[in-house]
């Protein structure tokens, strides 16, 4: 009945479970799973009732059929909660064996949650064989401090969706969508003036938006969120402020408004918005809305003047969390299956993410036919070649840092004040939450 004893008992139990294999070396895990084993797999597609969940269940069933010794206990957790759920369960001593983790939690996952580096447990030759055919940029997303902690799984890039019907109505050429932010402004203005619709909506801001689009936006103007040594925040640099001021200008000229994610998505699907910058993962929803209503097209993320566009990914990677060699083997088998050519065909065509393996795109055995029928995937594929990692912030307060940064940026764009001041205030506040300041 005593709460403290219960708590501490639990804590020491959990300690025992976690502290063991601090350093495991390659080749430690068995080559095969000989006896039946059950692994838990946290996945956010399973938390939704829809195509994503169905496709994931199907993939798990196929995996179990192919690996009779391994049973996968799939647990659905929404994407917004998956990292806190993993954290809570690791704290309770029953963390998952494999988890689909959002990239912005990478630092915390590696340093605090005990994610396992693939190089530490998988024989090099086996690893190399599996990495064959994976796009190098895609592979790099899961690399942290020189080691591969995760394989990009359901991930995507920012895509500029546009309503070709509204483009025509506004006297714009749908064959030539805007390539720069300056062109976006012109096009958006035409859509507002001549087609009587909203100019542009984005998924940059809003409670569930995170910071992934924002990072890509300011990076494309030469700014970064974090210094190279990961000690200083830099999002309020001159370039960062310039990028944000551009959005403020769009807002002030009446072509860009602050819609939350679901409202923006619904508006685009209903055909009342000209352009929409958002993850390619919403494609399925937009296509459904556009069907018989308007022509939906997509282009790459706009750039700043002559500067190259430098988008980062959104989405998740598969990460091994287990410290038990047999379960690690089982987890690795699952991970291999989920990042195979076959799985990526399902993930791309049914759930709407990017194929990590670019060689399946033109292979008729896999995505070949589908890609021909779905030209919307093209900008997404093009951007895969220039994709950069989504930075995760260091330290225990990394979530609060993201919130503070995004609050500041939202204030800068829509708050009506001086964007430079809003950004600098936010940076100063957030810097106090960085680990260096804590010591």
């Amino acid at each position: 009945m005593n709460r403290r004893t219960l708590l501490s008992a639990g804590v020491s139990l959990a300690l025992g479970a976690l502290a063991l294999p601090a350093f495991a070396f390659a080749g430690d895990i068995p080559a095969k799973v000989e006896a039946p084993v059950t692994i838990s797999y946290y996945n956010y597609n399973l938390a939704t009732a829809g195509i994503g969940g169905e496709a994931t269940k199907k993939l798990i069933a196929e995996f179990e059929a192919a690996n009779p010794n391994i049973k996968v206990n799939g647990v659905g957790v929404t994407s917004a909660e998956i990292s806190t759920r993993v954290q809570a369960d690791v704290a309770a001593g029953r963390g998952p064996d494999v988890a689909q983790m959002v990239f912005s939690d990478f630092d915390f996952m590696v340093h605090n949650l005990g994610a396992v580096a693939l190089e530490d447990i998988i024989p090099t030759a086996e690893l190399k064989a599996h990495f064959e055919g994976i796009s190098p940029k895609g592979l790099a997303l899961g690399v942290y401090e020189g080691k591969t902690y995760g394989l990009a799984y359901t991930f995507s890039t920012p895509v500029l969706f546009y309503n070709a019907d509204l483009f025509r109505k506004a006297g714009l050429d749908p064959e030539n969508p805007p390539k720069t932010w300056a062109e976006v402004k012109v096009a958006a203005k035409a859509i507002v003036d001549k087609a009587g619709a909203e100019g542009i909506a984005t998924g940059i801001f809003g409670p569930s938006a995170g910071d992934w689009l924002f990072q890509g936006l300011i990076r494309s103007n030469g700014a970064s969120v974090l210094s190279k040594d990961r000690k200083t925040l830099t999002f309020a640099s001159a370039e960062g402020i310039e990028a944000v001021s551009m959005l403020q200008d769009l807002y002030k000229s009446g072509v860009y408004s602050n819609l939350d994610i679901s409202a923006a998505m619904d508006a685009m699907a209903a055909g009342t918005v000209g352009m929409y910058l958002q993850t390619s993962a919403v494609q399925g929803y937009l296509v459904k809305g556009a069907k018989g209503n308007f022509e939906l097209r997509a282009s790459t993320m706009p750039r700043f003047g002559d500067k190259p566009v430098r988008p980062n990914n959104s989405g998740s990677a598969l990460v091994i969390m287990s410290h038990d060699p047999v379960k690690q083997r089982a987890a690795w088998e699952l991970m291999k299956f989920m990042t195979s050519k076959h799985a990526y065909t399902v993930i791309t065509s049914q759930i709407g993410y990017l194929p990590l393996r670019t060689d399946i795109v033109n292979d008729p055995q896999y995505l070949g036919e589908w890609v021909k029928d779905h030209p919307l995937i093209q900008p997404n594929l093009q951007q895969l070649a220039v994709l950069e990692p989504w930075e995760s912030f260091p330290g225990a307060n990394y979530r609060q840092i993201v919130k503070t940064m995004m609050d500041g940026a939202e204030q800068a764009v829509f708050g009506g004040g001086d964007p430079a001041k809003a950004m600098k205030d936010a940076q100063a506040n957030a810097q106090k939450l960085m680990p260096a300041a804590m010591n």
């Binding site: 976690l18 502290a19 690791v90 704290a91 809003g206 409202a263 609050d407 804590m438």
Partner: protein, 314 residues
């Protein structure tokens, strides 16, 4: 637990020795209280006490991570959030907006409809109680559906009548008031019922006597009904002040996430957002302490105030 008390109760009578009896007497109320006390200690008070301690540490809950003492840093971090102060102000607006909907309007309705035939009254009361039983998640889903700026029913109707569509949840000037109305939607039936009950309990002979004296309807309301309803009204005012922030929480969480620009956030949501939802033990413990002390102090003042007023009333 209940079995233990049962034996206690039945053995009390036959073994009627004076000593054991007084000892029993002393123990008995505590035995009856024990299930409730145990539940509250385990699930509420012990965590709260622990929160006081943990609010001076930084910890991410993981057994492998160190628990680092950080002094007042967690409190400083919370108090230096620009959103914290915005949220505090918003909380005031929420209460100000909810009071008319949760107290004044129901009061008017309760008095106004007291003369309706009993059957009609029952039907109306049955209907306005419905929002109270709708789950918050369901209510939030329905309202998001109704208020959608693109194809929500409300905006389409407004367009039909020639108004410009409104962004109820996306306009920083509107979001807070929209959530006030949605929260009021849930409360209005409850408050009306309670006030109607109190109103119906007023001795009809008082009203009759006043009417015989030629008092007008308004005079009866002002001089008899309102004073006699004052303790119920105070109760509702107190509920609104103390729990208003909690009632709005699920709507804020599902519908706006506190936005846009933090315009619809309140104290409760901000502390949830930066503390509890991110599982940083230090932040959330400090937030818990702030919430408990803040609302505890408010409750104390309000109870005092009510004590005074109702004493005066009798």
């Amino acid at each position: 637990m209940t079995a233990a008390i049962a034996t206690m109760g039945s053995t009390e009578k036959p073994l009627a020795r004076r000593r054991t009896r007084t000892a029993n007497r002393r123990l008995l109320p505590w035995l009856y209280l024990s299930p409730v006390i145990a539940t509250f200690i385990v699930w509420i008070y012990w965590p709260l006490i622990d929160a006081f301690r943990l609010s001076f540490y930084q910890w991410d809950m993981l057994p492998t991570s160190p628990i680092v003492p950080v002094g007042w840093t967690n409190y400083i971090n919370i108090f230096s959030l620009p959103k914290f102060w915005q949220a505090l102000g918003n909380t005031g607006w929420y209460i100000a907006g909810l009071l008319p909907l949760a107290v004044a309007l129901p009061l008017a309705i309760a008095i106004f409809t007291a003369d309706l035939p009993p059957r009609a009254r029952m039907v109306y009361r049955g209907i306005i109680f419905v929002p109270m039983i709708v789950a918050p998640v369901v209510a939030a889903a329905i309202w998001r559906w109704l208020l959608d700026p693109g194809h929500g029913m409300v905006n389409m109707m407004m367009r039909d009548f020639g108004f410009r569509p409104l962004r109820f949840l996306q306009d920083p000037n509107l979001a807070l008031w929209t959530i006030v109305v949605l929260t009021g939607w849930k409360l209005i039936g409850f408050s009306t019922l309670i006030l109607s009950a109190a109103n119906a309990n007023i001795n009809p002979s008082l009203i009759e006597a006043a009417r015989m004296d030629g008092a007008s309807k308004w005079e009866i309301i002002r001089d008899i009904r309102l004073p006699l309803l004052s303790s119920t009204v105070l109760f509702l005012v107190m509920m609104t002040i103390l729990l208003g922030a909690q009632w709005s929480f699920s709507y804020i969480n599902v519908l706006t996430g506190g936005g846009p620009l933090g315009s619809s956030t309140n104290i409760y949501y901000v502390l949830w957002d930066f503390g509890f939802s991110s599982l940083s033990v230090g932040w959330s413990s400090a937030a818990a302490v702030i919430l408990f002390l803040g609302f505890g102090a408010l409750a104390f003042v309000l109870f005092r105030l009510i004590d005074k007023v109702s004493f005066h009333d009798n």
